[in-house]
Amino acid sequence: MLIRPDRDDLQVIGFYLGKVMVGVGYVLGAPMLVAAVMGDWDDLTAFLLGAGLSISIGRLAERRFATTQQLDWSHGLVTAALSWLLGAALFAVPLDLSGHYGSYVDAYFEAMSGLTATGLTLTQDIDHMSVSVNLLRHITHFLGGQGIIIVMLTGLGSSSGQVSTLYVGEGRDDRILPNVVRTARFIYLVASVYLVVGTIALTLAGLVAGFSPLRSVIHGLNLFMAAFDTGGFATNSTSISYYHSAAIEGVLIVLMVAGALSFLLHYELWRGRRREVLENLEVRTIAVTGLITTSLLLLGLARAGTFTDVGSLFRKGVFSAISAHTSTGFTVNASRMFVTDWGRIAPAALLMALALGGMASSTAGGVKGIRVGLAAKSVSRDVRRAIQPDAAVVAVTYTQRHRRRITDAPVRSAITILVLYVLLFLSGALVGVYYGVPFEQALFESTSASVNGGMSVGVLEPGTPLPMKLTYTAQMWLGRLEFMAVFALLGYGIALVHGRI
């Protein structure tokens, strides 16, 4: 029997959504400050409006739904799913008012793409966008990469018990430290250290590349947020090819890889346990899949004759492979050139790398190395069972913080999510095909949205039909939350209508 959520359930969800909305309002203070410094007064009023709106509604919700009730699992999942929808809706207000989006739907798409660290864009005339609005786009990466709710709630002083269910709802499953708030603070400590070091490195590389000091800092900061949070937004229309700099590409590779490592692994490295890196199943899986996809990509580019010298082949090929496998989505060529100049094998390799993605509980998207690794281990176990005598006991183990034996429960869970991702890729591709996009291109774009990858073959543009934009938006949301929170929200909706008190 379905139990209909009651007033107390909605109260606790409304209360925490209020807190998230207040947090969004405060975050808008950063680009507002930059707009004031740069003299972008019209943009400043757009940020002020967005902040005022967010804080007003958030505070009213906090007051109207004030409660001391604890979040249970269903509350946590539903609040997480709604927070991402609402957060994108509020960040979309100043984006829409910036005048760079054809409609509010486009601005909403952009905000969702930013928060989910996807990097697909519907911005029009980005090359004339103000510094402050561009900064807001990249800040959404920084927030979303680490987890929007965790940022808001730990920043606004919520206790560990209150936010633990939200932590899982946001697609995180590793609790690094016993307490969720301490875990969240550790995540932000790691991100802050990388922020300082990464921005300085990119600024220096920018100076060498010929940027003025101020412009170098602006580009460095934005690039850092897009790289470490494996987002892929860029400050201009030509992504990383704008910089013509091997040094910048080198620093970005380090940051993308760091972003695709789980925060648990960062913690182990922090504590000096380097052995964990070598033994970790997910690291090993990603090393193998990375090697395979990079080799395929290079082979495809060589066969198509895309580059005329080996140096260029490796520079562009390896960068693109890492950008795809970490689900960042930076490109070193125009999107259309994936179709017009990359042959057929190389884009297919990129698609594979995008779909595989980074590590679980990192900033990266994709189906994640742990699921691929578990599925592979499970296949290995089944094959060994099949060739051993019936009485033989086959035990397959893996290392994920501790040595563990493969059991059916995590394998089933991993394969379920893998199947859901494949269905998501295909359903998005079918929508594209319905609107006349060739299947390969529709599949590329759909996969890129679903795994929060952000690479594009040029299918997505401001003139894309509205149903396709909405499909990609939903795919980004589903992919970032890894299905469960969204399914819980749907279940809640059904229970509200059909459930019994």
């Binding site: 804080i55 009213l60 229309s237 005329t308 060529n333 017009t340």
Partner: protein, 236 residues
């Protein structure tokens, strides 16, 4: 514990709040779109001239045969081209000498005896001007990476508040420029083959009054509610 059904009043309150927010956003958007637009003057054609290049195929199949420098030097100029044409068929334009017109964008990266530029030839660059000055949406940007050897003319790149210098470049397309790590570039034949068609222009973007008033009102409302909430907390 007794379960209390969701009251119709609570649902109504949420619905009213959602409607108010949507109404505010839609109203401001309509007011913005109906405001007078500061369109910049037309710069000049971005379309290719009558000597359209004869494009055989737009899809790469097999690697190119190695071209000799002599063969490259003998290539006939193909006239004015657009970035979209080149990106759609990079192979067809490889090593061609072309004329390209566009707006310098973002930054002038001075180094190695010249400078890298992003030069856009989309509608915002050559037709209607930067989008923020008007509301005429023409899609995304399109441009080419251009290498200019020194000495450089006086260039001001286009940014949020500037329509950049519009230049004409006569140069050679490199589909995979080894000196740029394999990027698609247009290298000016010499400093003399670059000319300025239009100087940069500062944009005046006035504050939208209705938006500013709404922003101040919401900021005051947010401050008032926050202060009241803090007071209630301190009383408790």
């Amino acid at each position: 514990m007794t379960r209390r059904p969701v009251s119709a009043r609570a649902v109504g309150e949420i619905a009213v709040a959602v409607v108010i927010v949507i109404a505010v956003i839609v109203t401001i958007r309509i007011l913005r779109d109906s405001a007078p637009q500061a369109r910049l003057p037309h710069v000049g054609t971005a379309a290719p001239d009558s000597d359209d290049p004869d494009i055989v195929t737009c899809e790469r199949t097999l690697p190119d045969a190695e071209e000799t420098q002599q063969a490259i030097d003998q290539v006939e100029p193909v006239g004015l081209i657009s970035s979209t044409e080149v990106l759609e068929c990079p192979d067809a334009f490889d090593q061609q000498v072309v004329v390209y017109v566009g707006e310098v964008i973002g930054d002038v990266l001075n180094r190695d005896g010249g400078a890298w530029l992003l030069v856009n030839d989309d509608d915002y660059a050559l037709e209607v001007g930067p989008l923020r000055g008007h509301g005429d949406y023409r899609g995304g940007n399109s441009g080419l990476a251009v290498w200019l050897p020194a000495p450089l003319p006086d260039l001001e790149p286009g940014r949020g508040d500037v329509r950049g210098t519009v230049i004409q470049v006569r140069g050679r397309i490199h589909r995979s420029d080894a000196a740029d790590g394999g990027g698609l570039t247009l290298r000016a034949l010499s400093a003399d083959t670059v000319s300025i068609l239009r100087e940069a222009q500062d944009l005046d973007r006035p504050v939208h009054r209705a938006q500013a008033v709404a922003a101040v009102l919401f900021a005051l409302l947010a401050a008032a509610i926050t202060l009241q909430a803090r007071r209630s907390e301190s009383r408790r």
